[in-house]
């Protein structure tokens, strides 16, 4: 007897529904920058991934090991899938998925700066995993303070694709700052494990690998983040900027300092601050490893990296667009502590190094730079 078509359809649909439509939960991607896939091998890749998962969890469920100063509540709000309600909250009212809602498209799930949109952008989004951040107020070598990360979220990075997130609530911003810190610390632990397991060829069982990653990867990185607050540079009061034409004015002093040999500004930024210094191929720390000795070698190296090599341009001050912010104190910080991860060095005093410019001289330089974009 022929069974009716609708009955067959019902059985088919029933089978499909019972199979479920569970998507596998997303995983962090291993940091293979600069390494050939065969160099790592699947066994080592798995070992590293497992150790990190044991310590720090997954993109859906973060974990904070003992002794690491990260706030799990904030991480949970940032991690996980975006909630189903229009404001991003879940059915039980909890907030999750902030990172995936706002950041993942450019910065990637693992904070690798290689999200789906990244390849189209110049400059590339930040790869958090090296623990280096460009626009900071802390001394050269120190991690950014939480305020530095929050400032970047609030102001965006003018001249790049990084928008301002000023419309997010304070809680949401704090959660995102904490998650960036989490991804960064995780990234550094991963680099440590890669060095240990791949370069050094150490075979360790899982719990020992995790212990090594915690003690020598996570905890030192976390300690540096904690000490960042004491490394914040507080500028002295800003001197007055009136009468820019007078030779004794701050602008004139700044012009003189800019041209003098010690700070070497002219070398990259050019004699008139147009960013046309002596022709040099400049790269930031993320792109420098992609450069070979010859163009052929660069082409060969390309297969070891996710994104193609990208050059760095020294700032043209006449445009008045500053990525780290255009407030006077922002410019002060860029000169005093430099831009980490780039050839722009720290000119101001730091522990152990007197630097080339005194704090007041840095203010004169700031006024000179501001005068360049105001003159047009």
């Amino acid at each position: 007897m022929a069974i009716r078509l609708t009955a067959w359809a019902a059985v088919l649909v029933g089978l499909l529904l019972s199979a479920g439509c569970d998507m596998p939960s997303p995983q962090f991607r291993l940091n293979t920058e600069g390494r050939a896939p065969e160099e790592i091998g699947p066994a080592r890749a798995d070992a590293i991934t497992e150790a990190l998962e044991k310590l720090l969890g997954t993109p859906d469920e973060p974990n904070v090991p003992e002794g690491v100063p990260l706030k799990i509540g904030q991480l949970r709000a940032a991690a996980g899938p975006v909630g189903s309600h229009s404001d991003g909250s879940d059915s039980d009212g909890s907030r999750t998925g902030l990172y995936r809602r706002h950041c993942v498209r450019c910065h990637g799930l693992s904070g690798d700066g290689a999200g789906p949109a990244a390849a189209m952008l110049n400059p590339y989004p930040r790869d958090f995993r090296r623990g280096i951040f460009k626009y900071t107020s802390t001394n050269a070598g120190a991690k950014p303070s939480r305020k530095d990360i929050k400032r970047t979220l609030l102001k965006g990075v003018p001249g790049t694709a990084m928008p301002s997130f000023v419309r997010l609530s304070q809680n949401d911003l704090d959660a995102l700052v904490e998650y960036v810190k989490y991804l960064s610390i995780r990234g550094e632990a991963e680099l440590y494990l890669l060095r240990l397991v791949v370069d050094e060829d150490e075979y360790l069982p899982l719990h020992e690998l995790a212990a090594a990653a915690l003690e020598e990867g996570l905890l030192p990185a976390a300690a540096l983040w904690e000490s960042a607050r004491s490394a914040v540079v507080t500028p002295p009061p800003e001197p007055p900027t009136d009468a820019p034409q007078s030779p004794a004015s701050s602008v004139a002093k700044g012009r003189e300092l800019y041209a003098q040999k010690d700070a070497q500004c002219v070398k990259c930024h050019g004699p008139n601050g147009e960013g046309d210094g002596e022709d040099a191929e400049l790269y930031d720390d993320w792109n420098k490893p992609k450069e070979g000795v010859t163009p052929e070698q660069t082409a060969k190296l390309a297969r070891l990296f996710t994104l193609p090599i990208q050059q760095l341009r020294p700032r043209n001050f006449h445009q008045g667009t500053y990525r780290g912010g255009d407030e006077p104190v922002d410019l002060y910080w860029r000169i005093h502590v430099g831009i980490k991860g780039t050839p722009m060095p720290a000119a101001g005093p730091a522990p152990g190094a007197a630097g080339v410019l005194a704090p007041e001289e840095i203010w004169h330089m700031v006024h000179y730079l501001q005068s360049l974009s105001q003159a047009e």
Binding site: D201, Y203, E216, D262, G352
Partner: protein, 275 residues
């Protein structure tokens, strides 16, 4: 996961390597009796071929000052009689394998005159080119002897990165001190952001057992603890100095009291070709 069979192999290999893989068992670092006898390791590395010509580097900054020097690539240094210079040979330590340090060396390195390793910016290059430092006992002293401002930048893994500007002597800041906070497994490259041709290396270690070969290829590591030690050999152009005998540039040697001679090792020029 797709490669489960590889993981099983890996786990088995680990088990046989450690020999004590029990669930939850904490495996302590290998404990052995402290050495009471010490020996020296000496040897010589030879580049078994005609010394290649060192490429002239592009000097395009501060040319008035730096253009007058004959600045050449230092990534492969072969002395007059074929000696291979600037090669690092050092004891490999790890979480499980520490090395006993001779008390005489502890005393020696604690002396003020041995408390510093110096990096000089002179004649528009870094001098010396290859350095080592016992980071717990020594500080890194960086100075600028050039008539132009210099920059010293390095980024040791897991440690605080440096990016120091050194103005011209005697302006304050022409010298700086740096303290490394952890050991490294391979030498850290040093660069100058003002003068891109400049380069050097420094290896911070948690022990004094490191030698850098002289231009005649000879080296000596005094007062090593007796017993079996693993040594790492590293050369700037190719990294780990891999040879048919030295996998990953490593060799094991049982150090006996007195002088232990590694002998004269002849290295084929093909080993130094970058792929």
């Amino acid at each position: 996961m797709a490669h489960k069979w590889n993981r099983r192999q890996f786990v088995t290999r680990t088990a046989s390597a450690t020999g004590a893989l029990a669930a939850g068992l904490h495996v302590p670092a290998v404990v052995k009796a402290a050495a009471s006898e010490w020996g020296d390791l000496v040897g010589r590395l030879i580049y078994d071929g005609k010394a290649p010509e060192r490429k002239k580097l592009k000097v395009d900054k501060d040319v008035e000052c730096c253009g007058k020097f004959d600045i050449r690539d230092e990534s492969l240094m072969v002395g007059e009689d074929g000696g291979l210079g600037n090669v690092y040979i050092y004891v490999r330590t790890s979480r499980r394998k520490k090395v006993d340090i001779c008390p005489e060396l502890e005393t020696e390195y604690s002396k003020k005159e041995n408390g510093r390793v110096m990096l000089d910016n002179r004649d528009c290059i870094f001098i010396p080119h290859s350095m080592k430092i016992w980071y717990e006992k020594q500080e890194y002293y960086i100075v600028n002897s050039d008539p132009v401002a210099q920059n010293v930048a390095f980024s040791p893994l897991g440690d605080v990165p440096a990016n120091i500007i050194l103005p011209v002597k005697p302006k304050p800041g022409f010298e700086a001190t740096w303290h490394f906070k952890r050991k490294q497994s391979i030498p850290v490259p040093i660069a100058c952001n003002y003068h891109p041709w400049e380069s050097a290396h420094i290896l911070p270690l948690d022990h004094p057992y490191c030698a850098i070969t002289a231009m005649d290829g000879t080296f000596s590591i005094p007062k090593l603890p007796t017993g079996e030690l693993e040594f790492q050999v590293w050369q700037e152009r190719i990294g780990y100095l891999k040879t048919p005998d030295w996998s990953r540039g490593r060799f094991k040697m049982t150090i006996k009291p007195g002088t232990n001679d590694l002998g004269t090792i002849k290295l084929n020029p093909s080993l130094f070709e970058k792929s």
